[in-house]
Amino acid sequence: MDRDAALFEFLLRQGDTTLILAQRIGEWCGHAPVLEEDIALANTALDLIGQTQLWLGLAGEVEGKGRSADDLAYLRDAWDFRNLLMAERPNRDFGHTMMRQFLYDAWAHPMLTRLAASSEPRVAEIAAKAVKETAYHLERSADIVVGLGDGTDESHARMQDALDRLWPYAGEVFVADDADEVLAQAGIAPHPEELRAPWTETIRRVMAEATLTIPDSDFAHTGGRTGRHTEDLGHILSTMQWLQRAYPGATW
């Protein structure tokens, strides 16, 4: 795999993950348990959509076939998406949504911190902007995981259940393939394995404070980063893409 092919793959992985996660947390808009959380979740979703525009915009540029960020978001089918499986997991309850957000943020923050020093300046620029937003997302999601984990019996049980359900999806991000090796060699992105230590440290610290037990398993579902998805992604895409599919080229 050459550098540009690996870079294109990487940009899709970044942009598709932020896009699908944003779409998922956007589902809470108007439905969150309290007004303050409703707005906070919508803000996070919009931050992630902003990051998506940058990642997918650059992906189209690197691909060189004239596809825009919108083309990539709205006109690809499920098998062309490269998002992490965790991003497409259903929201379930608010606690489960925030646990997923925390597991993602705890990875995204050290990832973006390293990408800000990427040998590819266009990647470094996007990461430098996104890392500030993600630092805030992480503070917020960690706080809520602690608040609910170390909360009532009911909230504790729900957060432990959320962690148990999401844990098998958390490790996908550390499993490297050819594209990752090429990118690490070229100094464009850190090797996935390099992020495991800082991620694990954050998870351990926050889960201890949240009085939650980390599952004793390293098993990780994989496939999202290579286009093999759960059936949930198709449902997200049918909601997200139907307008462009039904009315091709529609704008406002």
């Binding site: 309290v34 007004l35 303050e36 707005i39 906070a40 803000n43 805030y136 503070e139 917020r140 706080d143 608040g147």
Partner: protein, 94 residues
Amino acid sequence: MGKEWPLWEVFIRGSHGMSHRHVGSLHAPDAEMAIRNARDVYTRRNEGVSIWVVRAADIAASSPSDKGPLYEPSQSKVYRHPTFFDIPDDVGAM
């Protein structure tokens, strides 16, 4: 504490403002979350550079029924406004 989160009053200082201004209120479980919620609810259009929150229950307020004794006596005391001085021209705008 009941099941409802306590109410917090939010004060924001804008980038060109000299002082914090009251902008509204919100609910949050503690001060830290109140500041985060205030950031998300009241500064999403770049309104602020500093946030104060204070529990609404901790604010002591004057009573509306004391309006007469508290404020009316000052209505007839125009001499308290510094409008009776001639300002020398070279002082400029004040």
